[in-house]
Amino acid sequence: MSNILKFAPIGSFVDASFFQELSKLKLDEFKLDSTKKEIFATYDTIQLQTNEDPSISLSSDSFKVTNILPLFSKSSRVLPGFITNVNTIEEFKSLDKAKFIKDSANEIYKNIIDKKILQDPYLLNQFEVLSFADLKKFKFYYWIAFPSLYSQWDIIDKHDIDYFSIDNLELVESLGYKKNNVFLIKENQPKPLSSLHFSSSEVEIGFLDSSSIPDKPSRFLQNFLTALGLYGFKRVKVNIYRKIGSYQITLENIELDHTRVSGWERTAQGKLGPKLADLGSLIDPIKLSEQSV
């Protein structure tokens, strides 16, 4: 019987306003510039529907990186990311996807090795949007990746724990962790990652889960576990905090390979491929005037 820790893959919800804003920016600012642009997404932890896969949300606000709006709720979090909007469908097709995600993962790896993530755990996860906007047809091809550095962990113990109380949630935020979902636990109290001691081979961490799938924490946890593996920790206690069914797992590292990268979002059919948003009827001014009364 395998007790390997499995993760719930992260999905995306992109609303129409995201593509409307992208069209605007493409016409007015980016033009033919297809370099990476900084954006952000939000995701919810704790306040989830039952059996909900972890997911991020993107909207027109995602482009306003200098003015991040107040979040949906106390338990919402911000995820940094980038958009690479290419100019042709051929370019979209021929771009080396494996290299694209590895380059992104490599930035995370550097931040782990430099220990920057301990000052700012926000740097542990990011997303990449690869997109092509067909502005004539109002069609948007897009593919989102959540670079994930491989490590494998064996679950040697699991038991239920109490729901992370609001007091503790506020404590996490008082550490300046509004954007983050991981922290250390010392004597049952959340503590900043910067207080991590490397002398031990064992550590206890807290994780605000954005998954409500039984036994599968969100994949956002994986990069932090890989980081701890790279720092030499062999055994990690993880407190997975959920509104219903918080639990603690004790993990032992059995494999570590940060060069092995995955995280492209799959389609609903389970394929490794992009998605298409057809906004013809939503933003085509002619069609829109037909619809409005």
Binding site: L48, F72, S73, I101, W143, A268, L276
Partner: protein, 311 residues
């Protein structure tokens, strides 16, 4: 136990409110909207208050309580299938004004070949299929089982905003297909039952967000509907409680004020106190629960959790 916690919480939260007319008109004041919202959030934590961008903020509501939101509410079955509609019986649609004098909102072109799988959209499917790239990432020993999602699964973000014009809450919806891509208004209309589809459902920019197009249930008839639902709820509860109250009233009147029973329903206490006037069996903070039950009849396939024993 829970109830007593709630009682103290409610005491703390409920200020004296002004002229409440919700059970005679079906309308509520902004203050009552907040009370009802607080109660909804308390009962159903998947609902949350949200703030709005500064330029969309409304001064008569607290900054952090501009509107209510719940996200990723699943919907597996379209309203048209749910109710066994053919989608074609309302094809005599040439008139723009129905018998009640209501202007028909945009005519949703429901696909008559309904329920074609989401992804198989015309010629795009080939395009998008050609873009599949199995080598996009390292998955050597594929230990991860790949899950396919139900192609019929949609997810809705639901928003409740206060309509000052109609003095009622107003519902806005944003839908996503099984891929998390935005649904078109036509597709979202498939989740509205046909009784409402042509009459009171419109495409709107959400007034509390920047540039977000939503489908909204127009509130022009909400007050009337709410009034009926509230009076029905009052009727049901009064009938249920009448006997209790009548028999208990005499027995309890002597020891009124003595805490004879910790478990006693506070509704009963209210009813006793106000026994001269209309017993207050439906409180204004339950308004949004009733409202959601109503919305469920408009969008029967959207499975938000409205099922609770609120009374």
């Amino acid at each position: 136990m829970i109830r007593s916690t709630f009682n103290s919480w409610r005491e703390y939260l409920t200020p004296a409110y002004h002229t409440s007319t919700f059970n005679t008109t079906g309308e509520i004041t902004p203050q009552e909207f907040i009370e009802a919202g607080d109660y909804l959030v308390y009962k159903f934590p998947t609902w949350q208050w949200s703030s709005a961008p500064p330029n969309k903020r409304r001064g008569f509501l607290p900054e952090d309580k501009q509107y209510l939101i719940t996200r990723k509410v699943p919907s597996f079955v379209r309203a048209s299938d749910y109710l066994g509609e053919t989608g074609e019986n309302d094809d005599d649609e040439e008139d723009d004004v129905d018998e009640d004098g209501w202007t028909k909102a945009s005519k949703p072109k429901l696909s008559t070949k309904k329920q074609k799988p989401q992804a198989v959209k015309s010629d795009d499917f080939e395009d998008i299929d050609e873009l599949i790239d199995d080598n996009a990432e390292d998955n050597e020993d594929d230990d991860e089982e790949v899950e396919e999602k139900d192609p019929n699964k949609r997810s809705y973000d639901l928003f409740i905003h206060y309509s000052t014009a109609y003095r009622v809450p107003r519902m806005y919806l944003i839908g996503y297909d099984s891929n998390g891509s935005p649904l078109s208004p036509e597709e979202m209309f498939e989740d509205v039952s046909s009784d409402y589809r042509d009459k009171t459902v419109t495409i709107e920019k959400a007034p509390f967000m920047n540039d977000t197009t939503t489908v909204s249930i127009h509130p022009c008839r909400h007050a009337a509907v709410m009034k009926v639902l509230i009076s029905r709820a009052i009727q049901a509860v009064t009938n249920k409680k009448k006997s209790n109250i009548e028999t208990n009233l005499i027995a309890n009147v002597k020891k009124l004020g003595l805490a004879d029973n910790d478990e006693e329903d506070w509704e009963d206490v209210n009813a006793l106190k106000e026994s001269e006037s209309e017993p207050q069996v439906v409180r204004v903070d339950q308004y949004l629960i009733i409202f959601l039950k109503f919305i469920t009849s408009v969008t029967p396939g959207i499975e938000h959790d409205y099922t609770m024993d609120a009374f």
